[in-house]
């Protein structure tokens, strides 16, 4: 292992690095760090492993030996059990429509707003941006009760997809990410098509958007997580079981089964795996899009 460092230390930039001489204490320090990190990673990953194991055990075994499953004892019975109470197909469809609605709204409205804020000069631009940042500072908790009154009571949008989607459309993450990417493009680039008589919408569609294709994927991925995982708001809006997204349906199953059945964990864990799998998969596949700048852009502006 240490021999691989030798050619590096010859390189001029690497000469400044502290690890030029792989002395014994440095190697021990590195090993210790790796060990600590591995122990930490185990703590972070074990619950996920345990979730899958428990969901496959006919009778979830909570003894230490149960963490290493017996291949003969594994079955999909728990998935059938949760599916009998919480029809998974319907719940997944509800989750998909709710999430898809928020994502489409965030992309369309976010691209329009982000482009205008970054590249167009018009009256009220600075004011809008200030208001946008200020409103991000107000926690959702404050608008929880009035939004419930407006959407569920006044407009009768309880148990509808629109009622679930609407508050998500205010999510400013898309606006911030798009604005950030559009700011990085020199304004000159848009002048040529304008001179040629392209409308501003055409400039956005055919010139600006193709230039920031990575941002598009980032916005889709980052806004996907929110509604897919969200519990509180869709929980308030949906009382009809056929309209509940999976997170809400599973939560209701957990709170009605806790202490009820003898061993309800198998079915609960099976539901948890189905709920967690799509996001985990997307995250592992598109990891680099989930950087801090993207995720915290909603906060930093």
């Amino acid at each position: 292992m240490t021999t691989t460092h030798v050619p590096q230390s010859v390189a001029p930039e690497a000469a400044t690095a502290s690890s030029t001489t792989a002395s014994a204490p440095a190697a021990i320090g590195k090993a210790a760090r790796l060990l600590a990190l591995s122990a930490g990673a185990f703590m972070f990953l074990f619950p996920f492993y345990y979730m899958v194991v428990g969901s496959l055990q006919t009778e979830p075994d909570s003894s230490p030996g149960g963490a290493v499953p017996d291949p003969g004892d594994l079955s999909l019975d728990n998935y059938a059990a949760i599916n009998a109470t919480v029809p998974l197909g319907r719940a997944l469809l509800n989750s998909a429509i709710y999430t898809g609605g928020v994502v489409i709204m965030s992309v369309v409205v976010g691209a329009l707003t982000g482009y205008a804020l970054a590249q167009l000069r018009f009256r009220g631009r600075e004011a809008l941006f200030t208001v946008l940042i200020l409103l991000q500072l107000v926690p959702f908790t404050l608008s929880l009760i009035p939004l419930y009154i407006l959407i569920v009571r006044d407009y009768g949008l309880g148990d509808t997809y629109l009622g679930m989607i609407l508050p998500g459309a205010v999510n400013a993450t898309g606006v911030f990410i798009f604005r950030q990417f559009f700011l990085a493009i020199p304004a000159d680039l848009f002048d040529a098509p304008r001179v040629d008589g392209a409308s501003e919408l055409q400039v956005l569609r055919y010139v600006a958007l193709p230039l920031i294709r990575p941002a598009l994927l980032t916005v889709v991925l980052v806004t996907f997580i929110g509604p897919w995982n969200d519990f509180l708001w869709p929980f308030l809006v949906t009382k009809d079981r056929h309209m509940q997204p999976l997170a809400v349906a599973l939560a209701n199953y957990i709170s009605s089964q806790a202490g009820n059945a003898d061993n309800p964990f198998g079915a609960i864990l099976a539901g948890a795996v189905v709920l967690a799998a799509p996001v985990v998969l997307l995250f592992v596949l598109f990891q680099r899009h989930f950087s801090a700048t993207n995720l915290s852009s909603g906060v930093k502006g």
């Binding site: 018009f122 009256r123 908790t141 002048d191 709170s255 995250f283």
Partner: protein
């Protein structure tokens, strides 16, 4: 065509530069609405969303909190009299509300320092060149992107009376068990949330660490500073803006705790030991039909969080 180069410089600078130019013929519409009036059309949908779904609800919440408000059938107009600060008085004198604020204080006292220290330490280790760095980043980040409802299910199983944690602890297992133990339940929820959100804060710190100029470390090494000295004199002060953000965000998220006590302890049990303000807002405002009480509680909570955040910022930035 027009000398548009000024608009490359973003924002106000561009406008100022534009004004300094010799007067050129401009249509009155542009003088009134700006260089690209179409921009107003572009931002209209979002502005309407903001007004209807963000600004108006907050004003409505404020109005509700000062009135005797109750649910009526749509279209039925029943007088809702102004009651001044009565709702606020009810909130502040409610023993369960007080309990929930004590619970949140316990939560924050554990969660915020633990999150800050663990996230910075992990980020510093991850920032070093290491094998498997990508794997570690993914591992630590995974709980943050996964639905709380899904991971709560595993924790529920792990910490149940006959769960894995208690079977490993054997005689050392707490009596009563974790989630029904009045002393242990809030610390356990604080640990859970720390675990769940740590990855996000690690990535935040990683970005801050990568912005520290290398020369700072190099000149410190030349001056013969030890590792601990470098850590305290360069790393910690350099990431202070990130630290402020971490502390403020962790405080805000913690104060809005809902899903965890709702699912882990069956709505705030045992005996209200894990009751949270937002859980009370749900129970009072929606289940028991007292939105006025819930709205007032919302403002009390936000005021408390704001005060705490300002205090934190002061403390963090004074050092």
């Amino acid at each position: 065509m027009s000398p548009d180069t000024a608009s490359i410089t973003a924002g106000r600078l561009g406008d100022v530069a534009g004004k300094k130019q010799p007067p050129r013929p401009r249509r009155p519409v542009r003088r009134l609405l700006g260089q690209h009036p179409i921009g107003i059309a572009f931002v209209t949908p979002y502005t309407v969303f903001l007004a209807v779904l963000a600004a108006y609800p907050i004003l409505l919440a404020l109005w509700i909190s000062f009135h005797d408000f109750f649910f009526t059938a749509p279209g039925v107009d029943v007088p809702k009299p102004f009651v001044g600060l009565d709702n606020y008085a009810d909130v502040l004198s409610d023993p369960l509300v007080r309990r929930s604020f004590v619970n949140i204080a316990i939560f924050l006292a554990i969660n915020v320092p633990l999150t800050t220290i663990a996230a910075l330490a992990l980020a510093a280790v991850l920032n070093a060149v290491l094998p498997l760095r990508g794997f570690f980043r993914t591992a630590y980040y995974l709980p943050y992107v996964t639905a709380s409802v899904a991971v709560v299910a595993v924790w529920l199983w792990l910490f149940s009376r006959d769960g894995l944690v208690n079977t490993i602890l054997g005689h050392l297992a707490p009596q009563p068990s974790w989630l029904v133990n009045e002393t242990l339940v809030m610390p356990l929820i604080a640990l859970y949330v720390t675990w769940k959100q740590l990855g996000f804060f690690v990535v935040l710190y990683l970005a801050a660490l990568q912005n520290i100029p290398r020369q700072l470390y190099e000149s410190a090494a030349v001056d013969g500073a030890g590792r601990l000295r470098i850590w305290w004199s360069i790393t910690v002060p350099s990431v202070r803006p990130a630290t402020t953000l971490v502390v403020v965000l962790a405080t805000i998220w913690g104060a809005n705790l809902f899903t965890e006590p709702y699912l882990l302890t069956g709505s705030g049990g045992p005996n209200g030991a894990s009751m949270s303000p937002v859980l009370i807002m749900y129970q009072k405002g929606i289940q028991q039909g007292k939105p006025d009480f819930a709205a007032a509680l919302g403002f009390v909570l936000v005021a408390a969080v704001l005060a705490l955040s300002l205090l934190n910022r002061r403390l963090l930035e004074r050092e």
